[in-house]
Symmetry: C2
Subunit: 344 residues, 2 copies
């Protein structure tokens, strides 16, 4: 009779255990479809513009056709989706990016960890990512003929300092806030995402985003930065389409009357803020959002959850909570809050 | 004793059969991760430009910071991936879009059918979609400071006629080629994808795309239109990274010497063309690609497969084979060809 030591038994079993584990690891998810669609903005017609000469020698034969006069689609919104075959929660997550950014915000982190898109899919939600504001796959339009003015171009110093990786004036030496959670050693991966930003009138954006929700159905909206106030306005005008609203460092609140507040109180709101809100600009946005949240909390409102991460002892988060080193924990927090406050 | 008719038996069994089918339908696929990364182009520094005034009342507090002088990342390439948990074929598909378009080309068709991205995933390949040429999530750069000139803006008439939905002059009445396979009733979904097109020097594009393949590993490349000649050049310079090359209506071939041809003969090529190549421009591109293919077929070259769909009795395809009504059949053809000519 032969005996096998426990440690040897473990070694013998390991390949089998790994096989079992790899048969259905927790991190895999089953999709029915990946895809995208556009939600129309409007059609415009241009005339009287001079024709352009050439596309270059290689495609010279196209040259004669380069006449900018004619019809264009503009102000459309791009919606990219990953539909789970069997979502654990029926209500999908819809992710709206901030200014100067695109839906890439929610894909992999700059240092290559799984992004919120993948994490929310693993949490059992179908995920829709939107490119809006004429960025990313929502094409930009000519100026001054369609957009009145040229866009704002954001330098790497602007991104570093405004998104609170380091304090004002810190980019030159690549100094960070003490204990920053942003993966600053791969900052250029963020800088490569940054897009020119047009100043768009709010109404066409609101309209296209609302129609995207009509197509998707009632959703949990995750809105970052400049998308925050837009999400509040969409929730106000179409509360039937917003099951819950997660405002990740929103660019302020919106002004609402008591009737508005009554409507918005039917929609659970979660606010999350990072660290180092030290500039006047950030303090002002934080206070503006706080006033809005306070309006919702008076009377018989449903849950408003306000989280300042530093108040919970979590220090060092930047404006980009979906990219910081604790992005998975923040995703868990969001997914857990949505399970509780927006049950199917 | 009770008897059950065959038809009744079928009815009784149907729910059970459906349950079994929905447990693992053929069209579902298991992903390990969705994500993206950027491949660096270069960093540029601008100086001496005037500061911009304001972002508008709502975000007025940011105004003071809008100074365009400083560093930017430019000419980067965006790579979006869907990694299968258990790919049936180890070599992934890498999809490159054409001019005036983005990676959205390969997602859902304009009429909402599954796009080539989903179809190739269902065929057992991990899929990488690239945004290049400063379009989509590969941000565009200022002109004239970084790009020498403004981009070309493409009208809806240009898209309709150049992509061969209808003949020259047909857009005004929305006339199509007889029996067009493009879903012309939802043409605006295509028009909403169209992006301004910069004239870029080829070398930085080649360089960034090559480095994207270094990161992905040896791949089967699907190159549409303007990406075709770029794919031929990448294959020539780095044959180790290109297991096979599928040129979907490429914008011509490239000029090669006998040494070049010797290298390229090691890489199986598939060319696919649609219908109605009636303009001088399209005939010229088709002939240019044919000359390139002929160079590869002389001597002891490996398989070059040249498919003119009309010669096989398939009429009515536009330039956008991934959007036409037989896009799934063309995807099957491509996937089957790759299984045969680029086995793992």
């Amino acid at each position: 009779m032969r005996y096998v030591s426990l440690s040897r038994l473990a070694l013998l079993c390991l390949p089998m255990m790994q096989t079992i584990a790899s048969a259905a690891p927790r991190e895999h998810f089953v999709l029915e479809e990946l895809g995208s669609f556009y939600v129309r903005g409007r059609s415009v017609a241009l005339e009287g513009l001079p024709a352009r000469a050439s596309l270059g020698a290689k495609s010279g034969s196209e040259a004669a056709r380069v006449d900018p006069n004619g019809e264009y689609e503009t102000h459309q919104v791009y919606v990219q989706y990953a539909k789970l075959a069997r979502p654990r929660h029926r209500t999908p997550f819809v992710l709206w990016h901030g200014g100067s950014l695109t839906g890439a915000t929610y894909e992999s982190t700059p240092d290559g960890r799984a992004g919120w898109q993948t994490l929310f899919l693993r949490a059992g939600r179908s995920v829709y990512i939107v490119d809006t504001f004429q960025t990313g796959r929502a094409p930009w339009a000519r100026y001054p003929e369609i957009n009145p003015d040229e866009p704002l171009f954001r330098t790497k110093a602007f991104l570093w300092e405004t998104f609170r990786i380091g304090p004002a004036g810190s980019y030159r030496r690549r100094e960070t806030f003490s204990g920053t959670r942003f993966p600053s050693e791969v900052f250029d991966q963020l800088a490569m995402q940054a897009v020119p930003r047009f100043v768009l009138a709010a109404d066409p954006v609101l309209d296209a985003l609302t129609r995207s929700l009509e197509r998707i159905g009632p959703s949990v909206i995750v809105a970052h930065s400049a998308s925050g106030p837009i999400a509040f306005r969409v929730a106000l005008s179409r509360p039937d389409l917003v099951k819950a609203l997660i405002a990740v460092e929103p660019s302020g609140g919106i002004d609402i009357g008591e009737d508005d507040a009554e409507v918005l109180r039917g929609i659970p709101h979660l606010f999350i803020w990072g660290d180092n809100l030290v500039t006047e600009s950030w303090r002002s946005l934080h206070q503006s959002a706080r006033r809005y949240a306070d309006e919702l909390q008076t009377g018989k409102g449903r849950a408003v959850t306000w989280i300042d991460l530093p108040a919970r002892g979590v220090r060092g988060n930047s404006h980009l909570l979906m990219m910081d080193d604790n992005s998975a924990e923040v995703a868990d927090l969001i997914a857990g809050w949505a399970r509780k406050h927006a049950p199917d």
